[in-house]
C-alpha cells in the first residue's frame, strides 16, 4: 500500500509539481492550500508524511506544525518544512550572531529561530527536515524516501 504524503502550500504550481513528483515516485499525494485545510486533511487521512510550507497567509506553517505536534495522535507524523530562507537551521545551530547587515531575512531568520526556540521550550519536537525553496523535486523525493521509505 502506497504511503500518503500531504502537501500543504498556498501556491498552486508548487502543489501541482510536488504532486506529480510524489506520484511519479509511488506515493499518494493529498494537497491543501492553507493551514486550516491542511489540519482538516490530516484528521481525514492520517498522512504518513507532511510537506509543509512555512510562509502561508492566515495560518503559517509553524502554527500548523505546533498544532500537529501537540495532538497526541498526530505528533509522530514526520514533517518536512519548505522554506524560502536558506540555511536557517545551520545558522540556528551555530547561534550566528552579530549580523550587521539588516535584511528582511534577518527578521525572518530571527522569527524562525524564535519559532524553533519556542517549540523546544514547549517540548515540541522539531521538524524532521527543512528544505529550501526553490525545491528540487528529485532532492525532495530523496528526503521523503529517507524518512518514510
Amino acid at each position: 500500500m502506497p504511503k500518503t504524503v500531504l502537501v500543504v502550500d498556498d501556491d498552486d504550481n508548487t502543489r501541482r509539481f510536488l504532486t506529480v513528483a510524489l506520484e511519479e515516485n509511488g506515493y499518494d499525494a493529498v494537497t491543501a492550500a492553507d493551514g486550516d485545510e491542511g489540519y482538516q486533511k490530516i484528521e481525514e487521512i492520517m498522512p504518513d508524511l507532511i510537506l509543509l510550507d512555512v510562509m502561508m497567509p492566515k495560518k503559517t506553517g509553524f502554527s500548523l506544525f505546533k498544532q500537529i505536534r501537540r495532538k497526541e495522535e498526530f505528533k509522530d507524523i514526520p514533517v518536512i518544512m519548505l522554506t524560502g530562507v536558506a540555511g536557517v537551521l545551520e545558522e540556528d545551530d551555530a547561534q550566528a550572531e552579530g549580523d550587521t547587515f539588516e535584511s528582511p531575512f534577518d527578521s525572518i531568520r530571527e522569527g524562525l529561530r524564535r519559532g524553533i526556540q519556542k517549540m523546544r521550550e514547549e517540548g515540541v519536537i522539531r521538524p524532521e527536515r527543512f528544505i529550501d525553496k526553490p525545491i528540487d523535486p528529485e532532492e525532495l523525493i530523496e528526503a521523503v524516501r529517507g524518512i518514510i521509505g
Binding site: 498556498d10 504550481n13 508548487t14 501541482r16 506529480v20 524560502g84 535584511s103 529550501d132 525553496k133
Partner: protein
C-alpha cells in the same frame, strides 16, 4: 561744625589746601568781627537817638521858660510904656539864650520887634506900630489866645524856629495907655511871640538821620554777608555737592552717597537723591545684568544673528555669524546685507514676505562665506520696531543647516542602502519563489519528455513560462522603483490634478461597482511638486483601494466607495492628499509593513512594489506617508506634502 577746607586738607595735605584753610578761617573770623562791629554801631546809634530826643525836649522847655520870663517882664514894661527898656530886655534875653532868634510883642500899644535871624530888621519904635489887637487884621497875626502854645515856623534856607506864643494879660494901671483906656484888668490885650532857632536841633536830627542810614546800610551789608555765608554753608555747598553727585550719576557712577543726616529740608532732598541713586544703581545693575544676559545669549548662540538697518546695512553681527561666515564683525558691519546672500534675490523675496507679516519663519536660503563657500541656512526674519513705533530695520536668526543637511543626505543614502539591502533580499525571495515554480515546471517538462507525455510536458512548460513572465513583470516594477527620476518641480493645483485623475479613472471604478468621489476644499494652495510623480502616487493609491474594495463582501445596501480628498494645513505649510476606502481594512501588523518593498497581501497578484514606489516618490518630495486602518474599518492613506516643495536637493 567742621569746615570743608579741613575736610579737603585731610584728604590732600598740600600747600594749596593749607592756604585754602587759612582763607576760610579769615573769612569766618572776619565775618564774626563784622557782625560784632555792626551790633556795637546799632547799640551806639540807639543810645544817641535817645540823647537827641532829650535835647529837643530840653530846647522846647528852655524856649517856653524863656518866653514866659520875657512875657512876665514885658507886662511891666508895657504898662510903663518904656520902649527902650523893652528893647534892652529883648536884647538881654537874646544874649542869655543862644537859641533865641526873634521876639515880637503884639499889643494895643504896637509891636516891638527884635530879630537875631534878621539883624537888619532893627528895633522899631513902639509908637510907630499900630496896635495889632485893635488895628491889625486878624489874618496877619497869630490868634489871640489865653494859653501859651508852641509852633514850629519854617524860613527860607531850611531854617526852622520854635515859635512860642504867650498871651499878655491886662493888669491894674494898664488903662493909662492912650487909646486903650477901655482895657480892663484881666483881659487879654496882646500876645508875645518869641521864636527860637532850631538849627541846633536840626543839626542833631541830620546827624541822627545819617547815622540811621549808615546803620541800615551796614546792617544790610552784614545781613547780606551773613545770608550769603549761611546760604553757602547750608545750601550752596550742598547744592554743589548735589551737582557733583548728579554729574557722577550721569557718568553712571552709582556709588556716590551724601549720607546727610542734618535732618533739614536739603537733607530730605539729598536723602531723596541718595535713594534715587541707590534705586538707579539697583536698576542699572539689573539692566546691565539683563543686557549682559541678552548679550550673552546673542554672543554664545551658535546661530547666525544679524541685525540690519532699514537701508539694508549690517548693524550687528554675532560671534555665531563670524564663525559660520568667516567675516569678523569689524569688516562686515556697515556692509550691505546682500554681501552674505548667495542669491540677493532670496533676501528681497524674504523681505517682501516680511512686509506682509511680522515674521518670516524658517525661510531656506544660501549664505556665502568670506571664502566663497555656500552654506544652507534656515532664516527667521523679524521686524525691529522701536517702542515709539519707528522701524529700526530687521533681525535675522539663521541656522546653519549645511552639516545637518549633509548628514541628512548621508542618512538618506544609508537609508537607501538599507532599502537596497531589503530590496535585494526581497528580490531574492521573489526570485526563489519564481524559480521554485520554474524548477518544478522543468521537472515536469523532463518527466513529460521521458514519458513522452505531451500533456505533462505542456503543463510543465506553462509553469516555466509563467515563472518567466512573473520575473519579467518583477523586473519592470523594479525598474520603476529603482529609476531615480529627476523631479520636475513646479507649482500645481492639486485639486485640478485630482479632478483629472477622477475623470480618467471613474469609469474603471464604476465597472467594478465602486464609487470614486472627490472632496476638494475651496482655496486649496498650489503645491510645488513633480506632477507625474504625484499623479502616479494617487493612481497607485486609488488602484490599491479599488483592489481592496473588490475583495470585500459588502453587505446589501453598502456601497463600495473610494474618496480622494485634499486637506490643507496652513499652519505647517503642508497639504495632505487622502485616499480613503471602506474595504476590509488591515491588521496593525500589515499596516506597519504596507510600504515595505515586496510586501504584499495579494498573494499571487501584484509584486509588492506599488506602495513602496508611492512611499519612495513621496519621500523624494520630503513628504510623509501614513495609513490609518483597522480590520473592518477601511483604510485611509495620507500623503503629506510641503507646499514649498522639497528643500533638500541633491546635485
Amino acid at each position: 561744625m567742621s569746615t570743608p577746607g579741613a575736610k579737603e586738607g585731610k584728604a590732600r595735605p598740600t600747600l594749596r589746601g593749607a592756604m585754602k584753610r587759612l582763607r576760610l578761617a579769615w573769612k569766618v573770623n572776619g565775618l564774626f568781627l563784622l557782625i560784632l562791629a555792626g551790633a556795637l554801631g546799632i547799640s551806639r546809634f540807639l543810645t544817641n537817638l535817645d540823647l537827641e530826643r532829650a535835647e529837643i525836649a530840653a530846647a522846647r522847655e528852655t524856649s517856653i521858660a524863656t518866653s514866659e520870663r520875657i512875657q512876665t517882664r514885658l507886662r511891666g514894661i508895657m504898662m510903663s510904656h518904656q520902649a527902650n527898656e523893652l528893647v534892652s530886655l529883648v536884647d538881654r534875653m537874646a544874649s542869655e539864650n543862644p537859641a533865641f532868634r526873634d521876639v515880637r510883642l503884639i499889643a494895643h500899644g504896637g509891636e516891638v520887634r527884635t530879630s537875631q535871624l534878621d539883624p537888619d530888621a532893627g528895633t522899631v519904635g513902639i509908637d510907630s506900630w499900630p496896635c495889632t489887637v485893635c488895628h491889625i487884621t486878624p489874618t496877619a497875626t497869630p490868634a489871640v489866645t489865653s494859653e501859651t502854645c508852641c509852633e514850629v515856623l519854617e524860613f527860607e534856607g531850611d531854617e526852622r524856629a520854635l515859635s512860642v506864643v504867650t498871651p499878655v494879660i491886662g493888669e491894674e494901671g494898664c488903662n493909662s495907655a492912650t487909646c486903650h483906656s477901655e482895657a480892663q484888668p484881666g483881659s487879654v490885650y496882646g500876645i508875645l511871640q518869641a521864636d527860637f532857632s532850631l538849627a541846633h536841633v536840626d543839626a542833631l536830627i541830620d546827624r541822627q538821620t545819617r547815622n540811621t542810614l549808615w546803620a541800615i546800610l551796614l546792617c544790610m551789608l552784614l545781613g547780606t554777608l551773613a545770608a550769603w555765608w549761611m546760604t553757602d554753608r547750608l545750601v550752596g555747598r550742598r547744592i554743589r555737592t548735589i551737582r557733583a553727585g548728579a554729574k557722577r550719576l550721569a557718568e553712571h557712577d552709582f556709588s556716590f552717597r551724601f549720607g546727610d543726616s542734618t535732618g533739614d529740608g536739603l537733607s530730605e532732598v539729598t536723602g531723596v537723591f541718595d535713594r534715587m541713586s541707590s534705586e538707579l544703581s539697583a536698576t542699572m545693575t539689573e539692566l546691565m545684568s539683563t543686557k549682559e544676559y541678552l548679550q550673552a545669549i546673542v554672543d554664545n548662540s551658535a546661530d547666525i544673528i544679524i541685525t540690519v538697518d532699514p537701508e539694508g546695512f549690517i548693524k550687528t553681527f554675532n560671534p555665531g555669524a563670524e564663525k559660520v561666515l568667516g567675516y569678523t564683525k569689524e569688516e562686515i558691519v556697515g556692509k550691505r546685507i546682500e554681501t552674505i546672500f548667495a542669491e540677493p534675490k532670496d533676501r528681497d523675496a524674504a523681505i517682501e514676505q516680511l512686509e506682509n507679516g511680522d515674521h518670516v519663519v524658517n525661510y531656506m536660503t544660501h549664505f556665502v562665506t568670506k571664502d566663497n563657500d555656500l552654506r544652507n541656512v534656515m532664516i527667521t526674519l523679524s521686524k525691529l520696531i522701536a517702542p515709539d513705533g519707528t522701524a529700526m530695520g530687521t533681525m535675522g536668526i539663521s541656522k546653519d543647516l549645511t552639516d545637518e543637511l549633509r548628514m541628512q543626505v548621508q542618512l538618506m543614502r544609508t537609508k537607501r542602502m538599507a532599502a537596497l539591502g531589503q530590496a535585494i533580499t526581497g528580490i531574492q525571495h521573489s526570485i526563489k519563489n519564481m524559480l521554485n515554480v520554474m524548477k518544478g515546471g522543468a521537472y515536469m517538462v523532463k518527466l513529460g519528455l521521458k514519458k513522452d507525455d505531451k500533456a505533462m510536458l505542456t503543463e510543465g512548460w506553462e509553469m516555466v513560462r509563467g515563472g518567466m513572465e512573473d520575473m519579467t513583470q518583477m523586473s519592470m516594477s523594479m525598474l520603476d522603483f529603482a529609476r531615480t527620476r529627476k523631479l520636475k518641480l513646479r507649482a500645481i493645483d492639486l485639486g485640478e490634478l485630482l479632478k483629472k485623475i477622477h475623470s480618467i479613472s471613474h469609469a474603471k471604478f464604476s465597472d467594478a461597482g465602486v464609487v470614486l468621489s472627490l472632496d476638494i476644499p475651496n482655496g486649496c494652495p498650489e503645491v510645488v511638486c513633480d506632477e507625474d510623480g504625484i499623479r502616479s502616487v494617487v493612481m497607485d493609491l486609488i488602484s490599491n483601494a479599488l483592489d481592496a474594495c473588490s475583495w470585500k463582501q459588502y453587505d446589501p445596501g453598502e456601497t463600495p466607495e473610494v474618496v480622494m480628498r485634499i486637506v490643507p494645513s496652513p499652519g505647517d505649510q503642508r497639504v495632505e492628499i487622502q485616499v480613503q476606502d471602506n474595504a476590509e481594512g488591515m491588521t496593525e501588523e500589515v499596516r506597519k509593513r504596507v510600504f515595505t518593498p515586496f510586501f504584499s497581501t495579494k498573494e499571487k497578484k501584484g509584486t509588492g512594489m506599488g506602495l513602496a514606489v508611492v512611499a519612495r516618490i513621496v519621500e523624494s518630495h520630503e513628504g510623509d506617508t501614513y495609513v490609518e486602518s483597522a480590520p473592518g474599518k477601511g483604510a485611509t492613506f495620507r500623503v503629506s506634502l510641503p507646499i514649498q516643495g522639497p528643500s533638500l536637493r541633491e546635485e
